[in-house]
Symmetry: C2
Subunit: 224 residues, 2 copies
Amino acid sequence: MKVPFAVLASGSGTNMQALLDHEDHGAAYRIELLIVDRPCAAEERARVKGRAVYRVDFGCQSVGDEVVGLLDRHGVRGVLLAGFLKLLPPEVCRAYGGAILNIHPALLPAFGGKGMYGHHVHEAVLRSGATMSGPTIHFVNERYDEGRILAQWPVPVEPDDTAHSLAERVLEVEHLLYPAAADALARALGREEPAPTFRWPGTGIPAGQDLKESIESAFGGAVE
Amino acid sequence: MKVPFAVLASGSGTNMQALLDHEDHGAAYRIELLIVDRPCAAEERARVKGRAVYRVDFGCQSVGDEVVGLLDRHGVRGVLLAGFLKLLPPEVCRAYGGAILNIHPALLPAFGGKGMYGHHVHEAVLRSGATMSGPTIHFVNERYDEGRILAQWPVPVEPDDTAHSLAERVLEVEHLLYPAAADALARALGREEPAPTFRWPGTGIPAGQDLKESIESAFGGAVE
């Protein structure tokens, strides 16, 4: 018995697509419905898979009760935000607290907050000179990007990166990290266990090198 | 001919020690003097190596000119902050702009700013749930931790970490990353080249695994 999940999206829905695709590979969840706040490509992706799609007016006062009603009607246990650009109504946060995940394309708490979505995030990373980025999966509360972090994965920023090239590199990891996180959450919910944990298993060191030589080889621009 | 550098410190001076030790392994810089703002263990470390040590009152109005005077007297070309807790006087920033580095024990721009030093940084990392941390080397300007980032290196946060255990893991990387960054800066200054560049050479993936399996193995707490 799969754990019923909902996705909320506002855009192209590529992260939702990765979540849907993962269902065919033994995921512990099933996405029962998609809720969108505007016409978007995610709707068609969900329909192709035969899932319920609801377009909801998030400017409406009763939106919180309306969304909770839809989630309850489908027996939803967990909520996944996938490129959803509105704040989640407090009624939804209260009803599903601890079972709502979001994905952000940078290492929170850096490069988060209001207005930080899509290319704005990657442009801010490049402006800062940060030499690492990568996706963050976090629990959602009533403020933007401030819920507890569940998982992060490091991605190098290349010296000649554009926002586009960096976004592509981070997205490749997003499409693996989000399904794995959703799966871990579904398993935990299915057994009424506490939230899943995560440990980045890497070392930062390329295979066959030690830390010292890999650090020394990382600096360029003034090499002999 | 080694490029003359100065270190500013306020504490135990372990990063300065790593910088001094690296001189014996072909570093392009030589630390000519240490400036401190208070009695601290760093002073003795510098004296053991026969370096000039100056204790300066950073509460004094003329401190900027005094520090620039000391740096000029020793022919300094670059300045390295190593656990120095005061703001650098604007006169020093103007005189040495682009040739002043600092090290921070987390991935800036997260976990930086006023009051964020030592164990405060690691405690904030643990509170956030961040699953990665690691040192940042950045250029220094007149505000705390806001200069352009030169280099970062990822370090895993373990689920059972304390501020102490996380600090130790980050410190091990700091003691290799800072000498390598100082060396890259010295080489660039020695040749009047632009600032050095940095590219993290890792992939985040443990040796012998692919991205998908390493991500899936990273989630725990609800495993079958």
